[in-house]
């Protein structure tokens, strides 16, 4: 009983959560911190045994190498292209569908809605093969289009689902007011509804952007030549047969992580809020 009281006392202490979070976060951030440190080392220092915890003389050598003397800028540009193209496509295709399904239901619209959710269950790894076969038949292997098509498959179903739930929360009265004022139904969508659900559109766009950005296996499988690689595959540029250039690979890793880090700095609040209000409640 005495031990139990002690545990309760320790757990209840005001400082305890801060200490626990501090310790866990310290260990959780080590991989990123260590990568940052390595990216500031010379190649020789990156291979020292025992390793130095902080670079003796911080240098931007690795970053210069990555930016000026490696194809990484092109890889990053490719990643941006893939992500933006995917976002553009799923938004144009998804907004109309989600709007129709949410505001103008018809016989069978529920079936379509559910099939959007069901397809999320299919693991991407299983569909790599059929896409590979299709791309081979269509001659799309090693093209930018192949990566974009697969990325669309990854994020499209969820996009429609999220957009639909945002449209659901939009009040019908406002739409009716627009219709009475002489707007067409499409006009109502563009002038009244879309501005109203701008947050939802932004959320979907960001999620799809990040998903495409972080995708590795499909571009690895579909692309052969160096020209079209996204940054996730491009990191392998620094893995040589005899030597892995750890300092430059670290610099490239930092670049690859930047979009995600910016996203979580800004959006963390909304994620918790969204989850609290939606799905897992109950």
């Amino acid at each position: 009983m005495k031990l139990r009281n002690l545990i309760v006392k320790v757990v209840d202490h005001r400082a305890t959560p801060y200490v626990v979070v501090g310790v866990i976060l310290f260990f959780m951030l080590i991989p990123i911190g260590w990568t940052l440190m390595t990216s500031l080392k010379t190649l020789k220092e990156a291979f020292l045994t025992p390793p130095t915890y902080f670079p003796k003389l911080p240098t931007f050598e690795a970053y210069e190498e990555v930016i000026f003397r490696s194809p990484v800028p092109r890889y990053i540009w490719n990643s941006i292209t893939y992500s933006l193209a995917t976002v553009l496509f799923i938004l144009t295709a998804g907004v109309f569908s989600a709007y129709g399904l949410s505001k103008y239901p018809y016989r069978g619209s529920n079936f379509i809605l559910v099939s959007f959710l069901v397809t999320r269950i299919l693991p991407p790894l299983s569909l790599l093969l059929p896409f590979y076969i299709i791309f081979r038949v269509l001659g799309l292997i090693d093209t930018k289009l192949s990566v974009i098509i697969f990325a669309i498959y990854l994020s499209y179903p969820l996009t429609v689902w999220i957009l639909k739930s945002f449209f659901d929360t939009f009040p019908n009265d406002l739409m009716d007011a627009g219709l009475i004022d002489g707007c067409s139904r499409i006009g109502v969508l563009f002038r009244i509804v879309l501005p109203g659900v701008a947050t939802g559109i932004a959320a979907v766009a960001i999620i799809a952007f990040l998903w495409t950005w972080q995708e590795f296996l499909s571009p690895y499988l579909f692309l052969n030549s160096d020209l079209n690689k996204p940054i996730t595959v491009g990191v392998y540029y620094f893995v040589g047969d005899e030597l892995t250039y750890w300092n430059t690979i670290s610099a490239a890793a930092i670049f690859a992580s930047i979009p995600g880090i910016i996203f979580f700095l800004i959006a963390q609040k909304y994620i918790v809020k969204g989850l609290t209000m939606g799905g897992v409640k109950g």
Binding site: V21, K103, S109, A253, G282
Partner: protein
Amino acid sequence: MRLSDTKFGFILSMPGAAVLFLWILVPFILLVSTSFLRYDNIRPILFYGLKNYKFLLHHRVFWLSFKNTIIFCVGVTSVTFVISLILAHSLSRITRGSSLLRSLAMFPWAVPMVVSGFMWAQMFNPSFGVINDFLLRLGIIQKPMDIYGNPDLAMLGVIIADAWTRIPFMTIIILAGLESIDPTLYEAARVDGADTLQIFKHISLPMNKKAMLTGIIITTIFSFRTIDTIFSMTFGGPAKATYTFGFYILDYIYRYFNFGVAGALSIIMLIMLLMIGSAFIIHVLRTEQGG
């Protein structure tokens, strides 16, 4: 002429539904049919019945990768769950600087998984990695451990690395669940004289069961079907110690070009994931009906 509302909705949603059909139904049907074909890119394509499936079930590597996948999945999910549970409960009690701390807790999620593999590979390196150096200095180990030479350590290494990338998601799910528990419950329990451990056992855990289950199932499914971290850490090695289903599928597509077997393998994986998923859905339905 003005369309009726239902027709308007139908026309509006058709292009999107067509995308769904083209992008998912067509590949899926192709996948199912491929799995019944002799399609090895050497001999002409032939209907093969269940021979691909039979071949797999008698293949030693199939069972090896099955075992590895299960160990990997269970390992990742349990490590992730334990750490996330502690982290989420601590985060929910923090008031000062909570926004920044929560953002920091999300950072591993921001790193593309294949890149996380590189980060951990570097830290686990026997000669210049920080983990070995740290453990050596503490005197926990006498000589550097080599996760690239020792199969058991390799599995442990990839589990740790993969769990690291999944902690943020599980944490945020548990945290959101905690925050939707009615605070008056805690107050009532306090008034009745319950201490923190009792509250944890009788309120925080049971009231948050659905969120925790969701997190556990999604983490299981995702670790089952992604190989990015393993890919850049050990590439399935050493001696196939971290060779999971993903690598098996990839090998049959990319190395042996035997699409029939790869198809059957994909279908088997799909069925396993469906079983995990439906077990979860049934459980949720039952708890909701039970009250």
